[in-house]
């Protein structure tokens, strides 16, 4: 069977970077092809080429045997190629039905919007994928999983032949991921050709029929997923075999650094109390919405708790702002890198020195040489890949942006570092680097809190795991109890005996 969509010899360069060099990609009817590669391998670029956002410098795109070009995003949609992104690009203020039909809504003979068909069509498309969402509901009131449903219904409404799923599970909970799997099966049964981008191997093996691997903007290999082992894929991705084992480290836990007692928030969390020690990595596990990020943001001074005390070392500290938190030695690497962590239009070095300016400047006057030195010290420690330190941060890949955000906080030499989903959406190579780095930091005596929804990561990295559910701490897991089953049961509220 010939492929539905076929790319050959695609190249794309940006100033200073060859994002894609002579790559190929084939997508087949009714099959899921997983696109695998580290951050910076060119996955996002090829998606943008496929959806008409970037124009390739060279190469051909063949759809159903005919050579095509996608000069605009609309032309790609019209040809039947549609993408569902990790952060869905939909409109919060519009209704579900309006989001599904935006740009190609059915019209009456007079050229006015045919609201009846819009609603009915939306309901029918949603029913096809087993959803009973109300077409009139405002999109902004829905969770991410429901937004994915809307995005997929939208893809079906355009009669898409090719559906690109760009890390669709990154923000989903366990249950929602399984619903997404069912949906992908539905799309396969409808004969769509699906491109699936993910960093999670269990997902890839669960869902994909074929794979294509990119490395550093080049095509490395492709084939049937059943013919390849996880180890072989990893080897193709990184060009070397990566130990997927978490770094082993001497547990050297010291005095308490951070003590939280009776911490409450009007809506997000209640009765939080725990102690964090020097040299310790404390994991926070829970389902999405369990209140973990909200708790961490309160500790970092973003939101105000209604009640409770925080003790750093021997002093009780009142944290009213991020400035107070940083002064107390607490720093926070946020989950939402694009909105809260990275200032994409500013140069790399300015992102890194932003919280440290009082140290690099003298009496408020900048000293650029010191800034460059500080930025270089920490970016090299994290093995950042960038052309220059004055490059705009937004030009780097996601994994490298994350390294910059982490470097920003290490340059502050904090006492407590809170990492919120530190490896979300980044590739295996960067992931291993971040893990190794966390182990190093703990060994140096830093107290680390890691919020993570990935069980292997939580278990592999943490000395102790606190499980949260519905805003409360419901279990603290140590030693032999640190198993996937314990965490999943606690987070889901299933008693251990059951």
């Amino acid at each position: 069977m010939p492929p539905v969509l076929s790319l050959r010899g695609i190249s794309k360069s940006f100033p200073g970077v060859k994002a894609l060099q002579d790559v190929q990609l084939d997508l087949y009817q009714g099959q899921v092809t997983a696109l695998i590669g580290e951050n910076g391998a060119g996955k996002s670029t090829i998606v943008k080429v496929l959806t008409g956002i970037y124009q390739p410098d060279a190469g051909t795109i063949t759809l159903d045997g005919k050579s095509v070009r996608f000069p605009t995003a609309q032309s790609a949609t019209r040809a039947g190629v549609t993408a569902i992104h990790q952060e869905t690009v939909l409109f919060d203020e519009l209704s579900v039905a309006e989001n599904i039909w935006l740009g190609h809504a059915p019209r009456t003979r007079l050229g006015l919007l045919d609201w009846r068909s819009i609603r009915e069509g939306a309901r029918r498309l949603l029913a096809e994928i087993g959803s009973d969402l109300d077409p009139d509901q405002r999109l902004g009131d829905l969770g991410i999983a429901s937004k994915h449903l809307v995005a997929i219904a939208r893809a079906l409404s355009t009669d898409a032949r090719v559906v690109i799923l760009d890390e669709p599970t990154a923000a989903l909970s366990h249950k929602e991921i399984h619903e997404l799997y069912d949906l992908v099966e539905t799309l396969k049964a409808k004969g769509k050709a699906i491109l699936f981008i993910s960093h999670k191997f269990d997902e890839i093996y669960h869902i994909a029929d074929r794979y294509t691997v990119f490395r550093d903007g080049q095509f490395v290999g492709e084939g049937a997923i059943s013919d390849v082992t996880e180890g072989q894929l990893v080897h193709m991705m990184v060009g070397r075999s990566v130990d997927q084992i978490f770094p082993s480290r001497a547990r050297n836990i010291g005095d308490p650094v951070l003590t939280v007692a009776g911490y409450n928030h009007p809506t997000e969390f209640a009765d939080i109390g725990f102690t964090l020690h020097r040299g310790e990595i404390l994991g926070f596990y829970g389902l999405v919405g369990a209140g973990r990020s909200e708790l961490m943001q309160a500790l970092f001074g973003i939101t105000r708790p209604s009640k409770g005390a925080v003790r750093i070392g021997a002093d009780i500290r009142v944290i009213r702002s991020t400035h107070d938190a940083i002064a107390a030695g607490i720093v926070y690497v946020p989950e939402d890198r694009g909105k809260q962590g990275a200032i994409r239009a500013l140069p790399i070095f300015q992102n890194i020195t932003l919280p440290s300016l009082s140290r690099t400047s003298r009496a408020g006057f900048l000293r650029l040489a010191r800034e460059f030195k500080l930025a270089r010290d920490y970016t090299q420690r994290l093995d950042l890949r960038a052309a220059a330190l004055d490059q705009e941060l937004g030009l780097l890949s996601g994994g490298n942006q994350q390294k910059v955000v982490i470097a920003k906080w290490l340059a502050m030499r904090p006492r407590v570092i809170i990492l919120d989903e530190p490896t979300k959406g980044i590739d295996i190579g960067s992931k291993a680097a971040v893990h190794e780095f966390m182990a190093e930091l703990a060994a140096e005596g830093l107290a680390v809190i890691m919020v993570s929804s990935e069980i292997p990561e939580v278990l592999g990295m943490s000395d102790r795991v606190i499980v949260m559910r519905e805003g409360r701490i419901i279990d603290e897991v140590t030693g032999e109890r640190m198993t996937p089953e314990t965490l999943v049961r606690a987070a889901a509220g299933i008693s251990e005996a059951a």
């Binding site: 940083i326 809260q340 200032i343 239009a345 300016l357 408020g364 890949r385």
Partner: protein, 325 residues
Amino acid sequence: MTPPPRFIPDRLQSRAARALRSWETILVAVAIAIFITNSFMSPFFLNAWNLSDATFNFTEKAMIAFAMAMLIIAGEIDLSVASIIALASTAMGLAMQAGAGVPVLVLAGMGTGLICGAVNGFLVAGLGLPSIVVTIGTLSLFRGIAFIVLGDKAFTGYPPEFAFFGQGYVWWVFSFELVLFAVLAVIYWVLLHRTSFGRAVYAIGNNATAAQFSGIRVARVRFILFLMTGLMSGIAAVCLTSRLGSTRPSIATGWELEVVTMVVLGGVSILGGAGSIPGVVLAAFIMGMVTFGFGLLNVPGIVMSIFLGVLLISVIALPRLFRRG
């Protein structure tokens, strides 16, 4: 085992190479072109005293434009600046009637500016209201107070020594206002481009949330920026009142738009996050020379405003057209 870390250079291209491709370079070219055109169009243009006189039509606005540039880079705007001038000038008039000397007059003008700036700053930074709405409101409010105090009358009879700020010369053709403009340009250049406060302004304008997550006291920086536009409006009020020798409630009407035009022409992004003080200085000179040149040629004011409008739009549109090509 692990290879040595890769060396990352500081800069991709030299500062000179970057400067050559900047917005300011375009502005320098525009300024030179206008200068040459003007000197061919009128025999009176290339005269030191005439040129010196011409600087009065931009120095006061440019003082406000420096502070406005920083505010707009931080993603806010202050449309009440011209009304602050009216209120500050009125306060100076009242002080004069009460028999105040020159130092008190100056303090009254600057103090009123600071108070107005604090009102704007509290409403925007303290209460989190959108600055465009707040300052449209205070635009009416501040000038309204000036009208209530003055009605259709005017304050005149400022003491002769007070005339120095708007009419005096420091040395040869260099007026007090021109020297003040130059000094303020240097101060603002240092503040925006060479201090951590300036860095915070860029960070807030590009991504206020990430700036807050980096420990920047966002509300405080915003408040200070509004204090600064208020203070600069107060200083401009001192100069303008001194130059005119009188206060009417309609003083400086419409200046807020000319100040914003100057800032945007200077390459400051109206969406925030980008811009420079040298750009604003160049824009001030360009607007001043255009006004002066047209004045020498007896071109009516309305043609001048059409020209400035076209200039503004083309200077903004041209780079975008070229980049697309």
